[in-house]
């Protein structure tokens, strides 16, 4: 897996809890522990959480962020995992 990747770090005020290494509710970047991926989660209109994800068998084969639906049906949540520098900041699938 990628080593010490940098990812966009963000948390929407509506989200409870936090990703490991992610900062507060301000946009920024974070350097991940070895082996982790970048993750981005969006709803229809805006980003919910961005940061580092994984370790222990998590895989992110794509260098770029291609969000796909996840979670409960009708929840309208899109998730991407990727391993490019700050790759979880840009996505063509959401506004």
């Amino acid at each position: 897996g990628p080593r010490n990747l940098s990812c966009v770090s963000y948390k929407h005020p509506s989200v409870r809890g936090r990703l490991g290494g992610a900062g507060g509710a301000v946009a920024g970047a974070v350097r991940c522990p070895p082996g982790q991926c970048c993750i981005g989660i969006w709803n229809r209109s805006h980003a919910l959480v961005q940061g580092c994800w994984g370790g222990g068998g998590a895989a992110c084969p794509s260098p770029t962020c291609t969000p796909s639906p996840a979670g409960p049906p009708g929840g309208a949540v899109l998730v991407c995992l990727c391993h490019g520098h700050l790759c979880n900041g840009n996505t063509t699938a959401t506004g």
């Binding site: 509506s14 989200v15 409870r16 993750i39 959480v49 222990g56 068998g57 996840a70 979670g71």
Partner: protein, 117 residues
């Protein structure tokens, strides 16, 4: 020397000679409220507990050694010693409820070390 890392053998391969950590992936896709992870490396402890434990399984207790001794002398045990996780690690779970998205660390989700108990 025993390797203490996860044994990356295929599930169809022959079982381990002694109690040890084996790779096991758990699928969480049927738990609809979970956004991430969809699958995770939970791992499992597999393999027989047999004497002598000292040269085979790093984590063992006197109680287990005495149970195995009884068994070796032919005394039937209702519950013979078993290969189980003795150390776990956490797993982050991202879930979606009517209250919104939540990132939460759950303890004891991933088996990290095995022993005979």
């Amino acid at each position: 020397q025993e390797r203490r890392k996860v044994q990356r053998q295929h599930r169809s391969a022959r079982p381990p000679a002694h109690c040890r950590l084996q790779e096991l992936t758990i699928d969480l896709r049927d738990r609809k409220f979970i956004v991430m992870p969809t699958v995770y490396a939970a791992n499992n402890c597999e393999g027989p507990c047999r004497l002598p434990l000292s040269t085979r399984v790093p984590s063992y207790y006197s109680h287990t050694v005495l149970l195995l001794g009884m068994q070796e002398r032919g005394a039937p045990l209702q519950r013979p010693p078993c290969c189980v996780p003795v150390r776990y690690s956490d797993q982050l779970i991202i879930s979606l409820s009517p209250e919104g998205l939540e990132v939460r660390k759950f303890p004891n989700m991933v088996a990290e070390e095995c022993g005979c108990r």
